[in-house]
Amino acid sequence: MSTPGPLAASSDDRAAGGPAVPEQPPARVRRPRPRALAAGAAVLAALAVGHVVVTAFPVDDRVQAPFLRTTTVGEPVDLRYARLTVGRPTGSTVLDGDDGTLLATPGVWLTVPLTIEALGQPRALGFAELHGGDGRTYTVFTSGRSSFLPGTTQPGVPRYATLRVEVPPQAVPGARLRVGLDLDDQRRDDVADVELGLTQADAEAWAAETTPVVAHAPSDAPPEDS
């Protein structure tokens, strides 16, 4: 906006023939004050900074990441929903599913015994995956051959289950096992991260082993007793 020019002068001025000099100040035009401009710019700047913070850094992954509780074989780990103890893994090229069937593999059948003690209420753990030493992630349960179905664990009644996963031998050394509550969603929840302590020698021995390794059916009695 600009100040009124001659056209905006009053008719009296023109009738007098004189120059268009207003006798009174022209109608005041409000200009944005510098402070208002600065405030607007500050709001825009804050929005821009917020956008950068949200998009330029991978905070989403970190905010939603599960809480990994690391442990090793034989060491109990306390999760929000259960106490978990992972036993010593074994392996072979043949798996006895404890249901009258034998499953063979060109790779290695890895079985891991777990003891689950539920906390607070009955829990049915449903998530497991193996992070192989070869850098790949081997899902458990999706194929039906690799499975982890411990069933529901009542508080105060330990449940004994065996996880079984079929992997290539090169995935065995340095493999880590992750176990959690929800098959579909581990965000912002505890997940056990177990260092299985497996070596290249284990992989080679199990890849040549033909004696079936038994994956016991889940039970409230220790496998030795069943």
Binding site: L119, G120, Q121, P122, T152, Q154, P155, G156, V157, D220, A221
Partner: protein, 222 residues
Amino acid sequence: MSTPPAATPTAPAPVHAPGWWRRNGWALAALPVALALTLVASGDRVRTLWWEQDLRRPTAAGPGATVEFHQDVRDGLGGTVPLDVEVGLDRVADAAPLPDGMELPTGTRAVRVDLTLSADPDVVLVGCSLAVRDADGTRYDYVASAWGAWQPVSPCVPQDATGPWPSLGDLDDEISPDGTGQAPRPTTWSVSPVVVVPQDVEVTDVVLWWQLPQHVRLDVGG
């Protein structure tokens, strides 16, 4: 008041501009509302992912008392079905004998929960869940098929007269055109589900629910 000396050419008396609090009064008043709206908008999943995932809204009865429980149960077809039932806890005691085939795991015992319920025969009550809790709030669920035993699927209705089942819409007539073939459920009946708990657990209350978060809480007398 004294008259100011006329000879002194002073500036006009200063007009006090309204203070910061007054100028921003409306914004300050709106701030709590905006904060509340922000929390509501960012908490849209608290209800479905947290509040409705556990036992949150009890209808409680003291030891020996009977309680009337009402809930509008979602029927899965977009509507709700009213559920009205009267529940009383008769007693919680060691289960003897055990249900057929039950073998208790080491370090556990079985408790029998004697309940008396009353409801109109046309109220849908199958699909209930039952659990007992100890003083710490730890919950031990009733499991129909476990430890070698087969108990009724619904622990709150007679096994041979369950009453109506939840509607499946248009499929109802095709599945059982002549009804379930069962006798109608009596208006008052008793059930005795058995729950397995660790040996040293003292049961302090019994909870019964159809759809979370509402539930019936029946305190066990001391």
